[in-house]
Amino acid sequence: MATLIEADGGVYTGTAVSSVQRRPIGRIIARRLVQVPIVLFIVSVLVFWLVQVVPGDPGRSVLGPYATDAQVALWKEQHGIVGASVEGYLTWLGAFLRGDWGISLLYNEPVRPLITAWLINSMTLGVYAFVLVVVFGIALGLFQAFHQGRRSDRGLTIGLVSLSAIPEFAVGTVLLVVFSVFLGWFPVYSGILPDTTLSDRLRAMTLPAFTLMAASVGYVARMVRAGTIETLESPFYRTAVLKGLRERQIVSNHVIRNSLVPSVAVLGGQLAYLIGGTAVVETLFSYPGIGLASVVAVQRKDIFVLEAVIMVTALASIVLLLVTDLIYMALDPRIDISSRNQQ
């Protein structure tokens, strides 16, 4: 496919061929790849600076009030804690890039393996929730589109938007009270240990996953609905119907792909959110993921953990958004990512 588009791109690099200009895909990817380190760099500066500004001296809080200033200073030096200076930033960044993410002040263990374990837990939960979001989002969106303007459609729209704005702890609390306290189907705490069986893990993750789904499904359903309605009202849908095609052919060749393409962008954003920003849900359910860890790290000023957590989640979400855009582009031959942000 790439060669065909390149061939066309060669002939039609002009303005009037269509409303959408095309550029070689390679250049688009290159441009985006250049942006990744720039964004990451700015994030790293922000993070480093903010973490340093957080009040309280980590050395003092670990060693206690009876340690001498010299002891605190020595401890900090041993743990590689430097001040909010350019040199400090460069030292930290250099070590970070080499894979030396420091020692957790709270657990007294190297940060990297800790983060890896949390991240795996969060990603498992995130993927579980994401599958729910995709399934329910597409089903609800399609249902709404085919019932456009009716009471069921409007009710679902309002319900889903509201659901996405209700704080996760409120939804989660109600789910906990109903399904764990009264019905007893799921555990009240979702702690996971290395020897927890798979079925217990699934049981532990189900309520958190549904809580996360409640917040995310509305966006996806809305996009699916809008995409489907746009397709059903489009001239090309009319063409397909007036060609006398069979229903099955119309839906599979003309409706599905055109309706779902716009949702891909939202899905990517949701996946990024689900695997990175679930602090509230993980805290509510005591689920040992990266969100819970970061809350604890902020509260206890575990600075190396905090820095690494934010850098890793930022990287993950940037990469996910990039991948989403590429999938988007592959699905829709018209999309030119480089101009999507500008228009």
Partner: protein, 525 residues
């Protein structure tokens, strides 16, 4: 195989009650014949087309009447029968060809769908593409719709319509939005195919002369009622109904030159443009243009979409950056020497402001001394409309407000960018007349941009023909209309006179292969 429409009435349910769109429409088309349904926007002509293919909007309903095609009771069939009718008996060509094709499917596959599945489909697709004039069908079949120009897409749609060898071919404004030569080519192609297929053809259009030149019979629709019907040439030459007479009287006459006018050849130059260039994405849209307009002169800048005429107009009005020089010499030291009137009056008026506030603002900015009311009277607007919002006015009234804004104070040059092309024919003539009167009264100069040589005939002192970003011919209006030098200008004149052009005329071959791609792009081919 006759198409027969009898007493067809269609109505739409709207929040404000039932709106009748068609009342008792009856007509009949024999195989091999073509029938033109003509009307302005809102006349019900598109509703008629949609009823023929049973694709009325959900709130639309046939309240009366019968449609029969070759014995099939079109309004009575459902389900599989309806599908078969759409697949085999009827085909439609649409107004927006690019949007009528599935954007995520290669055009070859879309044509194949029309053929139904079966052995040898792909070679049939290529034959069809060849039939509609593509020299490289294999390459076209692999393209996506957005990689086609409007003309190419329309030929793809036509090839899909051909695939089923339909008995009834419906053309819904098939050339609106296409450039004149492409329009001629597409219409020529349809003519050939009609003879080939021996199909009944129904053509829907707002353009009476165009339809009259192409169809055997025409019907004129107004507010859902067929007010006149008859032999195409007869209706055009001897219209019986008052409305048809009005429509024809409103058509600009390309053979009646400008009368009067105060322009003197020795008047001082108010606009001098030298070497104006504007690039979009590395391609020159305006390419090294020189231009001069004298005080009180009307210069018509004529060209097709993509020729760069609008960009040049915007550059003159100071709305876009450009290379080269544009010097304006205010005739009487005006503060604001260049004004612009846009094509789409709806968008050019702020919807959140009343007519009064819009005009007050302009009078303040242009240093005018007239009141809002007198300004409105000057452009033929009832001053009682002053406290309406722009969106509450009709298209013609909106354009009058936009014109009033340009004349709110002393000015030297008014750029008129296709000021009538989004209006109905009956309104166009009145706006042109208004612009002529205002120009004579105030003595401003016009840079009048248009794609239609007929429209500017009554106004222009001088014509500049633009193509591919360059001005290729310029001269006094009379010379251009009577003795054009360039073959391109001749083609534009032929199109403006609705003289048939052969589908694939030598100098305007539609195929990209032989011409430099950049030029094709600029031409929109």
């Amino acid at each position: 195989m006759t198409l027969q429409v009898e007493s067809l009435s269609v109505e739409y349910r709207t929040p404000r009650g039932v709106h009748p769109a068609l009342r008792e429409l009856s007509f009949c088309v024999e195989p091999g014949q073509s029938y033109g349904l003509v009307g302005e926007s809102g006349s019900g002509k598109s509703t008629a087309a949609l009823a023929l293919v049973r694709y009325l909007a959900r709130n639309g309903r046939v309240s009366r009447g019968r449609i029969t095609l070759d014995g099939t009771d079109v309004l009575g069939i459902e389900g599989e029968e309806l599908r078969q009718y759409r697949a085999k008996q009827v085909a439609m060509v649409y107004q927006e060809p690019v949007r009528s094709l599935n954007p995520t499917m290669r055009v070859g596959a879309q044509i194949a769908e029309s053929l139904g599945s079966g052995p040898g489909t792909s070679s049939e697709v290529l034959l069809l593409l060849e039939r509609v004039g593509f020299e490289d069908p294999g390459q076209i079949a692999l393209r996506y719709p957005h990689q086609l120009s409007g003309g190419q897409a329309q030929r793809v749609v036509i090839s899909m319509a051909l695939a089923s060898r339909p008995q009834l071919l419906i053309l819904d404004e098939p050339t609106t939005g296409l450039d004149v030569q492409i329009e001629a080519a597409v219409l020529g192609l349809i003519d050939e195919l009609r003879a080939d297929l021996d199909a009944a053809v129904v053509m829907i259009s707002h353009n009476l002369p165009l339809v009259a030149a192409r169809c055997d019979r025409v019907g004129v629709l107004k507010d859902g009622i067929l007010v006149e019907e008859g032999d195409a040439q007869e209706v055009l030459s001897y219209p019986q109904h008052e409305y048809t007479q009005e429509l024809i009287a409103a058509l600009p006459d390309i053979d009646v030159p400008k009368s009067g006018g105060s322009f003197r050849r020795s008047a001082p130059v108010v606009l001098r443009a030298e070497g104006v260039r504007k690039l979009y994405g590395g391609n020159p849209v305006v390419d090294d243009v020189d231009l001069e307009i004298r005080s009180g002169e009307v210069l018509a800048l004529v060209g097709e979409s993509g020729s760069g005429k609008t960009t040049l107009g915007r550059a003159v009005a100071g709305l876009t950056r450009h290379e080269g020089r544009i010097d304006i010499n205010p005739a009487r030291g005006e503060r604001n020497p260049v004004q612009i009137v846009f094509q789409n009056p709806d968008a050019s008026l702020n919807p959140k402001r009343t007519v009064r506030r819009i005009l007050q603002g302009s009078i303040r900015l242009l240093g005018g001394d007239s009141s809002v009311e007198s300004l409105m009277e000057q452009v033929g607007l009832d001053p009682s409309l002053a406290d309406r919002y722009a969106r509450e006015l009709s298209g013609g009234q909106q354009q009058r407000v936009a014109i009033a804004r340009a004349f709110a104070g002393p000015t030297t040059l008014v750029v008129c960018d296709e000021p009538v092309s989004s209006l109905d024919v009956s309104v166009q003539a009145k706006i042109i007349d208004l612009l002529r009167q205002l120009q004579e009264r105030t003595g401003v100069a016009y840079l009048f941009i248009s794609h239609d040589l007929a429209v500017v005939r009554a106004l222009a002192d001088r014509i500049a023909v633009m193509r591919h970003g360059k001005i290729i011919e310029t001269g006094p209006a009379d010379d251009i209309y009577t003795a054009p030098r360039r073959s391109y200008t001749k083609a534009l004149l032929r199109a403006a006179r609705y003289q048939p052009t052969h589908a694939l005329e030598e100098s305007f071959s539609l195929e990209p292969s032989s011409i430099e791609p950049r030029l094709l792009v600029a031409a929109g081919v």
